[in-house]
């Protein structure tokens, strides 16, 4: 009968499995990272290959913009901690601040592109540099936009009072995505504004 007891004991152990939201988000991030990798490779491979037109020297390093975006990782982390402990008010504030920082980043990118297009005459079809630059930075910006839409949705739920402590887990899954978008910016920044310039 000892075997039965063993089997019994095994059954009573807590049966824990990873959270499906987290697993799915990590998988999505894995897939997205591969897309970014290919675009980064295309950028690096083509540095200095433009036959004519503006060169990367016209770029200005977007220091402030980067600081805004990266600090939004900190604010969203504070928001995560707040909702985990049921402090919904402070969650809402940190979350809104994250949204604002992300939006500022996007506006900053818009200003940068405006200058590049109208002052330096660089568009996506001007030359190889334009093609790779707008694609890579644009790919990242489109992820910021997606992230902002998601952040905004949660913000609306918060304002209308639908967010409670038990949603902490889902919110953290979403926050993972935002952290990813921030982390990718470090790579894009390094490649475009440090190595490529």
């Amino acid at each position: 009968m000892s075997t039965l007891a063993v089997a019994q004991a095994e059954r009573e152990q807590a049966w824990v499995q990873p959270s499906k939201g987290r697993v799915a988000m990590f998988c999505l991030i894995l897939a997205e990272s591969t897309i970014f990798t290919i675009f980064v490779v295309a950028y690096v491979y083509n540095i200095g290959k433009s036959l004519y037109g503006p060169t990367p020297q016209i770029l200005e390093v977007p220091i402030w913009n980067s600081i805004f975006l990266l600090s939004s990782s900190l604010t969203i982390w504070l928001a995560e901690r707040a909702v985990e402990h049921g402090r919904i008010k402070s969650f809402g504030l940190w979350w809104a601040l994250t949204f604002v920082l992300g939006a500022i980043f996007l506006v900053g990118t818009g200003i940068e592109w405006h200058k590049l297009i109208y002052e330096d005459g660089l568009t996506i079809s001007t030359n190889l540099f334009g093609t790779t630059f707008y694609s890579l930075v644009g790919l990242h910006a489109s992820h910021v936009i997606l992230g902002l839409i998601a952040l905004f949705t949660v913000l609306m739920f918060t304002v209308t009072g639908h967010v409670r402590k038990e949603h902490a887990d889902r919110i953290q899954v979403l926050a993972l995505y935002w952290h990813f978008v921030d982390a990718v910016w470090i790579v894009v920044f390094t490649v475009v504004y440090v190595i490529g310039r």
Binding site: K20, C27, E32, I38, F39, A42, K49, I124
Partner: protein, 565 residues
């Protein structure tokens, strides 16, 4: 000692009610299939989609073979010929290969891990319908390829769509756009479905189903899904670049503006090589279930099998340039890709040994699924060996883009993958429909198909060695290729007849087949503990398992598996 618990099979199943045809009933039925989020129904939809396009791609193959049956044929024009083989390749890889994976995985992974559905049922439906839409988009190119300006045209740039041929300057019209958009859309479907498979297998396992007790089918599908996440996305990225070039005037692959055609080839094969393993691993998954059950033995070397799959996935990420030896590389590059390609032989060899060891000394029952799996073993071995031949750079310079390559990869794609798909369908059809496929027709199907397969593809190796290049629309009589081509085409027709027998069997047995019962093969995994077909909720009570073969434990309480774990 029944330490595992199961629902009483059949007890909760609603009695099947006679359906009488009326328009309202039909619409309700249709609506039900369109809005369904049930993993079983989505699995069936994926399979029907896959089989449908298998027939479409098969028709295209037959067109190709009619054109090549004799020298100087004028059955198809060169332009149409290019479209037909492009569509054939694209269809078979993306619409057949990528969908059968999720057909089987959707239906079986939740049942095998003892769950009631996939982790994200709605994402699941979304993924299927994206894939569905992508396929339609590809075929719509026949109508819309030249936009409103002219005759219809499908893409004609081969399945790898090398640049700069796909640039605007060389491919006006919209045919390459349909190709790229359709594959981006089906790619999104694949990503969604892969995430779902991984989350289901890792997070919804029933009690006691530890990772080392997961059926190997589930293990391999998880590995496949991870590989798909890493493989499909480079293609998506490259196609976005192609569209930027074509629509926004970008220069990624525009060689006149400093862009590079070479980098497309790299991106494509960074996708393309792992992709072939994405296609073959689920076929292995099927063999892993069928071979033990029909050999009446537990699989030999379970941990080695799981580890070898992970090994194959890793190695396959670093071998892509063996498709590019003739493009020209440094000798370091050549050496690296020769050696890394040969390395794949090790984990693959482990697998073949383990399957043979599983059969060794077993009481083998040669029912149709097992027949297909046995043929698969031999054919996959040969395909792997021609692969090793092709991986030797000097040999490759000689054989590249010849019919030898076509023979090699059809040996895998048909001889291994399609054979396993058939095995899987014969094996699980009773579970899905409640009826057995006819064994008699199954035997006809099998023998015709094996014979047709070998007549075609064995001969193709010879053509390749005689120097016949791939993708040519015809050839002169004095090349000495005519008799061989004739034989290849005959084999193609025999395979087509076999597939028609199969299609007939599918339909016929659905109405007239022998009633299957819950467990017709005396198998061991959880799906056979449910009624056939399983109810919407799968398991009335969450199962608890204590070994790798839960049904064995129930059937043999005196000698349960968990004693040996």
């Amino acid at each position: 000692m029944a330490d595992s618990t199961f629902p009483v099979p059949g007890a909760l199943e609603a009695a099947p009610h006679g359906r009488r045809w009326s328009q309202a009933a039909f619409l309700a039925w249709l609506h039900d299939w369109v809005v369904t989020v049930d993993h079983k129904k989505l699995g069936i939809l994926y399979m029907l989609y896959s089989i449908f396009f298998l027939l479409v791609g098969g028709v295209e193959a037959i067109l190709i073979r009619i054109q090549l049956v004799r020298p100087d044929m004028h059955f198809l024009s060169p332009w149409v010929f290019n479209r037909v083989f492009t569509m054939h390749g694209t269809t078979m890889v993306f619409l057949v290969g990528m969908t059968y994976i999720f057909g089987f995985a959707n239906y079986l992974v939740p049942l095998m891990v003892g769950a009631r559905d996939m982790a994200f049922p709605r994402l699941n439906a979304l993924s299927f319908w994206l894939t569905f839409f992508g396929g339609i988009l590809l075929y719509y190119s026949f109508i819309g390829g030249y936009g409103l300006y002219g005759a219809s045209s499908a893409p004609d740039t081969m399945w790898w769509a090398y640049s700069p041929l796909t640039e605007r300057a060389f491919s006006p019209g919209h045919a390459p756009d349909y190709w790229a958009l359709s594959l981006i859309v089906t790619g999104f479907g694949t990503i969604g479905a892969s995430i779902n498979v991984i989350a289901t297998a890792l997070c919804l396992r029933c009690k006691g189903m530890t990772l080392m007790r997961l059926p190997l089918f589930v293990w391999l599908n998880v590995v496949t899904s991870f590989l798909a996440l890493l493989a499909i996305t480079p293609l998506t990225a490259a196609q976005v670049m192609l569209l930027i070039d074509r629509y926004l005037g970008g220069h990624f692959f525009d060689t006149q503006a400093g862009g590079s055609a070479l980098i497309w080839a790299h991106f494509f094969w960074i996708f393309g090589h792992p992709e072939v393993y994405v296609l073959v691993l689920p076929a292995f998954a099927i063999a892993n279930e069928v071979i033990p059950v029909f050999s009446r033995k537990a699989i030999f070397g379970y941990p080695a099998m799981a580890a070898a799959s992970v090994g194959i996935a890793f190695v396959s990420l670093g071998v892509w340039a063996h498709h590019m030896f003739t493009i020209g590389m440094t000798s370091v590059g050549n050496t690296f890709f020769v050696l890394s390609t040969m390395l794949v032989g090790i984990p693959t060899g482990i697998k073949i040994f383990n399957w043979v060891a599983t059969m060794w000394g077993g009481k083998i029952r040669f029912a149709t699924p097992m027949l297909f799996c046995t043929a698969f073993l031999f054919q996959f071995l040969i395909a792997g060996l021609t692969g090793i031949i092709l991986s030797v750079a000097p040999w490759n310079w000689q054989l590249h883009n010849s019919y030898f390559v076509i023979a090699h990869f059809h040996y895998v794609l048909v001889g291994a993958i399609v054979f396993c798909i058939f095995a899987g369908i014969y094996y699980w059809y009773p579970k899905v429909t409640g009826r057995m496929l006819s064994e008699k027709l199954g035997k006809w199907h099998f023998w015709l198909f094996v014979i047709g397969f070998h007549v075609s593809f064995d001969t193709m190796h010879v053509l390749g060695i005689l120097g016949m290049p791939r993708s040519i629309f015809t050839y002169e009589a004095d090349r000495g290729w005519a008799p061989w081509n004739f034989v290849v085409s005959i084999g193609g027709f025999i395979q087509a007849i076999a597939v028609l027998v199969f299609a007939f069997n599918l339909v016929h047995s659905y109405f007239k087949g022998r009633v299957a019962g819950n467990d017709p093969w005396d198998a061991w995994t959880l799906e056979w503990a449910t009624p056939s077909p399983p109810p919407a909720y799968n398991f009335a009570e969450d199962p608890v398992v204590t070994s790798r073969r839960p049904l064995w434990d129930i059937k043999h309480p005196e000698d349960p598996d968990w004693r040996y774990e």
